[in-house]
């Protein structure tokens, strides 16, 4: 066992004994073979001395046990690092932000406390995974859908607290926005309920989000101000139908009007699924093609030398040749897939309305991409576990595997995920900026990329920087990642989420008025957790004794 830095060994040993008393000896892990499991499988620091490590782990099964562990840690000044299931791969996994922390593993708290079918909500503990809730709903034959992250093995609470997203209705696929009510253990062991949960005998804890007075739930996401032990979530009533339709446009500059109109359709709730885009002419496939029921025929030619030349010309600023190629081969420059959930008649009418609105784009044409009725038949459900249908999956773990399309497999990846404005101008600018940065920094040339559209009103680029067995290569990737954080900030863009290695760097960019936001966070931290025991360093928030003097 390794001791946390700066912690008196006797105090640590005493705390471990108290943890054992609180949760049972078998649920406190100090042997290397066990603490080794609390690592970041995709660590950007793979195999390096700075790789984050846990000194021990403790796995309580109830809120009372969490309170006892937190009280003991607070008394002895032991840093804890809270995880729900620890599976946010690409964003840090289960490794602590501050090496030597004791991982507070909440996996054993896996009770589904309530699922209300009539009003479509659930109350769960941190260890409940998307698969767990999906199984519960299926077994009880409830007409409800979950919105799951991709992959679906993680915790609803963990993903929501890290502000992850999914694929269905806008107010559901933003997982933090979908939550309603929390229970939190504070650093002194006190128990707090937010929203209507603060009312003893509350009858609307999971129905009315804001309660009375300041709405503080956001303080407990992407932070270290408390240990969240229960969360409510709004679910989605099982729709009668799902429909997907594709709009295709011919010209590069059509992207301006296309995005404007798709955004209008989404903000007006004419379309209510997560939009998706592609560019057959540029060879960019849609994100959803993999996960759809029936393979979508995406005609993306790759081996035509004429096309490669025309793409280069288009990227250099003259798209006319590529547009003409598209007309000859009936290939779109851009596409958008619009998705609709609801009664069959309604989604048909919504698609017709969307087509009417989008038809103002010259030469636009439309394709049906399928309609499905629910519940799905068993056979197709077995063949495709589709997050767009609220079905969790592990399918995307082909990522990184050695294959004909990926001859140099990686150990994982670190996601760089800047949020940008939802305009074509921003997309073109971001591509120019990323390409320039790649050249300047000696990174591999990035292809033109399209963002994803998980969040309403914004777009998000998600780039994976590979983690490999080569430490020098990983160092270069980290440097490039840090560099890109800076470049993004210079242009007014920032990551929606990042792993511990990069959390300080991103937090540093939110510097308006001499870092007034971070100073506020630190004030809250000092007030709620004066001994700095809860997840030191998470999202760049450090307790006073570990805080570096701000320049």
């Amino acid at each position: 066992m390794r001791y946390p830095p700066g912690i008196d060994h006797a105090a640590f040993d005493t705390a471990i004994l108290e943890f054992k008393k609180a949760v049972g000896e078998q649920w406190v892990f100090t042997a290397d073979e066990d603490t080794r499991l609390y690592h970041d499988a995709y660590s950007p620091l793979l195999g390096e001395p700075e790789e984050r490590w846990a000194s021990a782990a403790v796995a309580p099964a109830s809120v009372e046990e969490v309170q006892a562990v937190v009280r003991a840690a607070n008394q002895h000044g032991i840093p804890l690092y809270t995880i729900s299931t620890g599976r946010n791969l690409g964003y840090g996994g289960s490794a602590p932000a501050y090496s030597g922390s004791v991982v507070l593993d909440l996996k054993r708290m896996n009770k589904i406390l309530e699922v209300n079918e009539e009003n479509a909500y659930a109350l769960v503990e941190p260890g409940v995974s998307y698969f767990d809730l999906y199984r519960y709903i299926q077994e009880k034959k409830l007409k409800l859908w979950i919105d799951c992250a991709d992959p679906g093995w993680g915790s609803l609470m963990g993903n929501a607290l890290d502000r992850g997203g999914g694929y269905t209705l806008p107010y559901i696929r933003n997982h933090f926005e979908a939550h309603c009510g929390m229970e939190v253990v504070l650093a002194n062991g006190e128990l707090l309920r937010t929203g209507m949960g603060a009312l003893p005998n509350a009858k609307t804890w999971q129905q009315y989000k804001t309660g009375y007075g300041p709405w503080i739930d956001g303080l407990f996401s992407q932070s270290n101000f408390g240990v969240v032990t229960k969360m409510g979530f709004w679910l989605m009533p099982q729709p009668e139908a799902y429909r997907c339709g594709r709009v295709n446009v011919r010209r590069r500059d059509d992207l301006h009007e296309l995005i404007r109109l798709v955004t209008l359709l989404e903000n007006s709730t004419v379309t209510n699924g997560c939009p998706d885009s592609s560019s057959p002419l540029l060879g960019i496939g849609s994100i959803g093609a993999q996960s759809r029921f029936l393979a979508v025929d995406e005609p993306i030619p790759t081996d035509d030398p004429e096309l490669a030349k025309l793409r280069d010309q288009a990227e250099a600023g003259d798209p006319r040749g590529l547009e003409a190629y598209g007309r000859r081969h009936n290939l779109a420059y851009w596409t958008f897939d619009l998705k609709f959930y609801g009664p069959a008649k309604m989604v048909a009418a919504q698609w017709e309305s969307a087509k009417d609105i989008l038809a103002v784009i010259p030469e636009a044409w439309f394709e049906e991409q399928g309609e499905y009725r629910f519940p799905l038949a068993e056979e197709p459900k077995d063949k495709a576990r589709n997050p767009e249908f609220g079905i969790p999956s592990l399918n995307n773990f082909s990522i990184g595997a050695r294959s004909s399309t990926n001859p140099t497999p990686s150990h994982g990846h670190m996601w760089l995920a800047p949020i940008i404005p939802r305009t074509a101008d921003a997309i073109f600018e971001a591509n120019r900026v990323f390409a320039d940065a790649a050249r300047q920094f000696g990174m591999p040339q990035l292809r033109f990329a399209l963002p994803a559209w998980y969040w309403q009103r914004t777009a998000i680029f998600i780039f994976g920087f590979p983690v490999t067995e080569d430490k020098e290569e990983n160092r270069r990737h980290r440097e490039a990642f840090f560099h890109m954080i800076g470049i993004c900030a210079e242009h007014g863009w920032a990551e929606y989420r990042t792993g511990p290695v990069f959390q300080d760097a991103v937090a540093e960019k939110f510097s308006f008025n001499n870092h007034s936001l971070m100073r506020f966070h630190e004030s809250v931290k000092d007030a709620l957790d004066p001994n700095g025991i809860l997840s030191p360093g998470r999202y760049g928030i450090w307790p006073k004794h570990l805080r570096k003097a701000r320049a």
């Binding site: 499988a41 496939g285 576990r385 999956s393 399918n395 050695r402 004909s404 001859p407 497999p409 590979p466």
Partner: protein, 218 residues
């Protein structure tokens, strides 16, 4: 330097692998034993009962591996790239109640998932073999297990049978599997081999493995 990729590139790679693969399934002839409500019959003649073998049927090597284990009475759980149905329907319901020793010949991605899911139920990887088509012909192998079980990876893969069958023999012969992963490399016995036969032309790196209850006994 590896190429930086967008999330949609990831998805495309997954599609290409699936589309190129055979979707033929391996039919299990195993018959459930009496008193075996889960439909998993326990092989009687193995040093450690391998309860189930997971087979990614896209790869010919997996078919050979499956036949070799099936002959020893091991139940097969075929899947075609996406390990979700096998884990969700067969493994998870059992692992929630009791350990289930599982072997497999799959992609690394499938093992990556299963290993972490197994940790939550007190299971660990006790043996792992990497198998990749060699650019110089044949197949290269790296077999690894605990230093306390070195005999199971040393002196292997020299027989006349195809390597997947020999790997199945290896796994079926492991007595009292000792947890080997995750661990520093110096705590593992490793053996490299090259076999002459290629069981596939696909460059996908395959992995054979055994997940068994956590055991630190020597």
């Amino acid at each position: 330097m590896n190429v930086i990729f967008s999330r949609r590139d990831f998805m495309s790679a997954g599609i290409a692998v699936s589309a190129a693969a055979s979707l033929a399934s391996v039919a299990s002839v195993a018959v459930s034993a009496p008193g075996d409500p889960l439909g998993l019959h326990l092989p009687l003649d193995l040093p450690v009962p391998v309860d189930l073998a997971l087979i990614d049927t896209r790869f010919p090597a997996a078919h050979t591996f499956a036949r070799a284990l099936e002959m020893r009475g091991v139940s097969l759980a075929p899947f075609d790239g996406d390990v979700t149905p096998v884990w969700y329907e067969q493994l998870d319901p059992v692992w929630r109640h009791a350990p289930l020793t599982v072997a497999g010949l799959t992609t690394e991605g499938a093992l990556f998932c299963l290993e972490q899911l197994a940790w939550d139920h007190g299971m660990r990887v006790a043996y792992r073999g990497m198998h990749v088509v060699s650019p110089e012909g044949g197949t290269e192998h790296l077999l690894e297990t605990s230093t306390h079980r070195a005999q199971y990876v040393n002196g292997r893969l020299s027989g006349p049978q195809p390597w997947p069958a020999q790997v199945a023999d290896l796994i079926a012969g492991i007595e009292q599997p000792v947890s080997a992963f995750p661990s520093p490399v110096e705590q593992r016995s490793r053996a490299n081999y090259r076999t002459r036969s290629r069981t596939q032309n696909d460059p996908t790196r395959l992995v054979s493995w055994l997940i068994a209850p956590k055991n630190s006994r020597l």
